[in-house]
Symmetry: C2
Subunit: 400 residues, 2 copies
């Protein structure tokens, strides 16, 4: 098996066309409407937010994803997160606009939105934008689409891997957007991933659930909580290779899917609002996955941990405090913590360490932190980021 990183994102996958255009939702003239199109019907699976307030596009897409899919339409600058009837009508109307222009059924269109909450979609602009997007579709439009889904993102996020295995060749490629990562509970996180393998809807859903848990859900981009979060995985079948869960190629597929998701997730954190540092947190020696994940999330979500990393301050007391209130069960008197290769606690107690050496570790763009619980064999790596002045600037005046 050989797996290689490929240039591009969604349109690196056979059977996917894309476009990204400006339709007038964003005031600054930047691209704000992306369209992904499969000339042949694709199968789709999705993972959606569990927020009690669900934006209407998700309600539409949760239904449509169960049927064969041809198109995904995504606008940025407006989340269409309006709880009244109008929001739902607008999301349906968006699917209808795309369907009419492409000559397909509305149920074959998946809808996604990101941006300000509580403002109705400007449907006249959406109509013009859909026309423009359909006319711009091409098999090299992936980057335009990745640009069109950005909000406070500073760079587009794409990833694709091609696998050669047992005489078969296939690709998994995707794009994502994510912002406000420093308070992950409310980030809008979107990802759209395609493969040219031919996989059943059930298979896609299983693979997506497993991989999302190990990638997006470990970067404190909380898929459970925003009103608009979604990750979609689509199979075009254009490689002509049918794969089932028991097949030898399945592990290769999940592996490539994991790489794409991990790449995109890492880029979301790294491009988080106001981020100056990425925290790579490994939790090892955990009794099980949930303990490790709960601890990692509490540490990486702590404002006091984040500001300490921003200040390059080796304040490990804040790490053990966050662990202590996380709700996870572990033995505090077994905990070793390392910042890079500098050990700062030994069996739960502080040790004298070289502050200069620790400072050097903390000055890096990516800071490795290791928590060893010495209580089992489970190990995970999660990603977070610091909390800077810039974060406050971005979020204190988001609507203007």
């Amino acid at each position: 098996m050989a797996m290689e990183k490929t240039a591009g994102g969604v349109t690196s996958v056979k059977g996917v066309d894309a476009a990204g255009v400006h339709c007038g939702i964003k005031k600054n003239g930047e691209k704000d409407l992306a369209l992904l199109y499969c000339p042949e019907p694709a199968r789709a699976a999705g993972v959606f937010t569990r927020n009690l307030f669900k934006a209407p596009p998700l309600l539409v897409t949760e239904q449509h994803v169960k049927m064969p899919t041809r198109a995904v339409i995504i606008n940025s600058g407006n989340a269409n997160a309006c709880t009244g009837e109008q929001g739902f009508k607008d999301a349906m109307a968006t699917a209808e606009l795309v369907a009419e222009k492409l000559g397909i059924a509305p149920a074959e269109v998946l809808v996604s939105s990101t941006g300000v909450i509580g403002v109705y979609l400007p449907m006249d602009r959406m109509a013009q934008g859909v026309d423009k997007a359909v006319d711009s579709l091409s098999n090299t439009g992936g980057n335009d689409a990745a640009c069109a889904i950005m909000t406070t993102d500073t760079v587009p996020k794409e990833s694709a891997y091609t696998v050669d295995s047992g005489g078969h060749s296939f690709t998994v490629g995707g794009m994502a957007k994510g912002s406000g990562m420093i308070c992950p509970d409310m980030a809008t996180m979107l990802a759209f991933i395609y493969t040219d393998l031919d996989i059943s809807r059930e298979g896609l859903q299983k693979a997506l659930n497993r991989v999302v848990e190990q990638s997006f859900n470990l970067v404190t981009v909380d898929g459970d909580t925003s009103t608009n979060d979604m990750v979609l995985l689509l199979s075009t079948g254009a490689s002509g290779i049918k794969v089932e869960e028991e097949a030898p190629l399945w592990a290769d597929f999940e592996n490539a899917l994991f790489q794409v998701c991990q790449d995109l997730a890492y880029r979301i954190v790294s491009d988080g609002e106001g981020v100056t540092k990425v925290i790579r947190l490994s939790v090892k020696g955990a009794s099980d996955y949930q303990v490790a994940r709960t601890l990692a999330r509490a540490v990486l979500n702590s404002c006091l941990v984040k500001t300490a990393f921003f200040g390059e301050d080796a304040n490990w007391g804040r790490i053990i405090t966050a662990m202590g209130y996380s709700g996870a069960e572990f033995n505090p008197s077994k905990v070793d913590i390392f910042l890079g290769d500098v050990q700062v606690t030994d069996q739960g107690a502080g040790v004298v360490f070289d502050e200069d050496k620790a400072k050097k570790v903390l000055q890096q763009r990516e800071v490795p932190v290791l928590i060893d619980l010495h209580s089992g064999s489970q190990e995970i790596t999660a990603f977070g980021c610091d909390l800077s002045y810039e974060y406050v600037t971005i979020n204190s005046d988001y609507r203007s």
Copy 2:
């Protein structure tokens, strides 16, 4: 019944002496050691953190609080939050130092610490400080003590109320410290409250549990989670009035205790790190207390809500998003939200509102927010604050 706010704090209560001195833990020469002393044995009750990492002073105090109490010793600048044996020995040694100097038993001394985590207490300085504090004890030393427990607090926090009821007169008075309120999960929050009523330990504990739930636990100062949080309530009996739970005076006592706790809690939020605005959040129409509290905490703990208030931006979408992921059960399509008297959502959907009027509400030092769930009769008022640049400054370099 007449209840009047009195000047002062702990020493406004009969039978309480206090002192606050500098012993050399804080580098800047400010007071860092407080001693509270009851010439006659008092009864005590306490509420302690539920963090898995518990600082050694709490372990000592949790035991000693069950017995008659004479003294409370509190140092700031160092939390003695060291998980090894040494931390526990130091906390015990602190009680012994106080006991020896005062000629009482070590078990009659309660111990409390706040400050940096993971550094051992400088016991030589503590010894000198205890001597100095005992020599400085007086029945007007309450303010010195309130100053000596401050860390990043900018003002000392005291409150006292005197009640005249049915021919009886008694006082409830206390002091508190609290910092880092913007990320309440890790704030160290300490409060020490006295009454000159004669109340059983069981009575004190019941009253304290009830009142803390309605005061400190509603200002997002999370007593459950820091390594050092504690609230102590002591009864000196110096008024000569014995009160039991069924007595007519009991309600007056709980009411006065609530006022003192609410005052102190409000001051903690208002003096929170980098705070420019206090958010007074009322949740009404809730089906029960837990739903109301869960929603209030999610909204007031949200970094995106906090930064929007800092920026005076009427971004109500962030409020409903936080409600949605809080985990509380409620009907999103019944939710009305008001900023001051400006309604921003009606039955869960956004309404057109006067942005200028909303801006005026948001420019106030205290911003009233009302969430009406229209699902029951439970109502609570909780307090939070905004997230500013100053918070990042304070917390990015706390240890230096």
